[in-house]
Symmetry: C2
Subunit: 200 residues, 2 copies
DNA sequence: GTCTATACCTAGATAGAC
DNA sequence: GTCTATCTAGGTATAGAC
């Protein structure tokens, strides 16, 4: 099955490219990283690299998707308590402070992807929707338990937390001395949440 | 004084360019607005326009500064009550929903300006610092009055509100059905604030 | 199916004429 | 102060070798 073999090889190469790109961005940051630059790192020509991706924007979107996969490993270890979802959320944000290059990529791309014509538009829409659909039930449960104010819609608080995380990443890039996870934890605490993550 | 005259004319032209650019962006949106495009609208060549600005990024940064000037007119009408500061803040955000082009410009530029080499870097740093220095005292006063929880540092809550507004603008561009000001007002209310702005 | 080489296009920057 | 012309960088498209 020559076809099957070649196909599998293509998939593998794609994965290899994404993994390498992720490493390069973590190591050297994303300051206007060009396709040629990444192509060099992978040992391909620029056109060779774009054989696997339809555009620069798609390539970088896939890099983020790859990052999500890697991060999900640590995130999915959420316990039965709804509050533990926030623990994972905060752990992720704490982790972000160790990979400024990826934060740059994320901030840059999420801004560009607001354009419906951008190759990453759907990815970001789905990402927000997915996080919201995870958060909302946990929030509702915590509200029922009296650990979060019921005046906020669960979907609304989800949106707020996502927006807050995004905005703080931007501010953190401008001034790395701020504590992104600390700020979010403090807000959750001020809203009445009690959990390991907000405990100081 | 020919020099003086020429100087004044240059200033005036600069203002004219910024005003026109603002109008164009409001009217046609900022979807990869190019320098040439704006130059056409002003009746100049691309090089002619860049005679007044050192780069594209500086030009667009100045457009935002111009927007701030215009907006400040409505914002500075804050009353003596510290809570009225939030009224102005929310009014501004409500107004943003009427000018998607400017929100696009803001989101795009604030992401790009996280790079210290970006011409708008200092502008955004100062902008955040300025808003923070306005918010913090008002927050402290509201905390003393028991209208906001004291567990949050005033500077911290300032950062949170700025980040939230920025993040919501991004989400709103992705999905204009969300109510940016409504979400922020709901959060302030959940934190205990009572004011005209949060009243429904 | 994988990849190189090359040519192309857009767009910002810059030099120099007027 | 403003233009034309040119330079450069970078993303994209295509032809064709393997």
């Amino acid at each position: 099955m020559a076809q099957r073999g070649a196909y599998a090889k293509g998939i593998a190469k794609r994965e290899e490219i994404l993994t390498t790109a992720l490493e390069v961005i973590v190591r050297e940051g994303f300051s206007g990283a060009s396709v040629r630059q990444l192509a060099d790192a992978v040992g391909l020509s620029q056109a060779g690299l774009l054989h696997y991706f339809s555009s620069k924007d798609e390539l970088f979107t896939e890099v983020l998707r790859k990052r999500d996969e890697v991060d999900a490993v640590g995130m999915d270890a959420a316990g039965p308590d709804p509050a533990s979802l926030f623990d994972g959320f905060l752990a992720l944000i704490r982790h972000n402070a160790d990979v400024p290059g990826l934060v740059q990529l994320y901030v840059h791309l999420s801004a560009a992807a607001t354009d419906p014509a951008h190759d990453g538009h759907e990815y970001f829409r789905e990402r927000v929707a997915q996080i919201r659909s995870r958060f909302a039930p946990a929030i509702a449960e915590l509200q029922a338990r009296g650990d979060l104010p019921s005046s906020l819609e669960p979907e609304q608080l989800s949106r707020i937390l996502i927006a807050l995380a995004d905005g703080l990443q931007e501010q953190w890039l401008m001034d790395p001395s701020i504590d992104m996870a600390g700020d979010i934890a403090a807000l959750l605490q001020a809203l009445g949440l009690r959990s390991p993550a907000t405990a100081r």
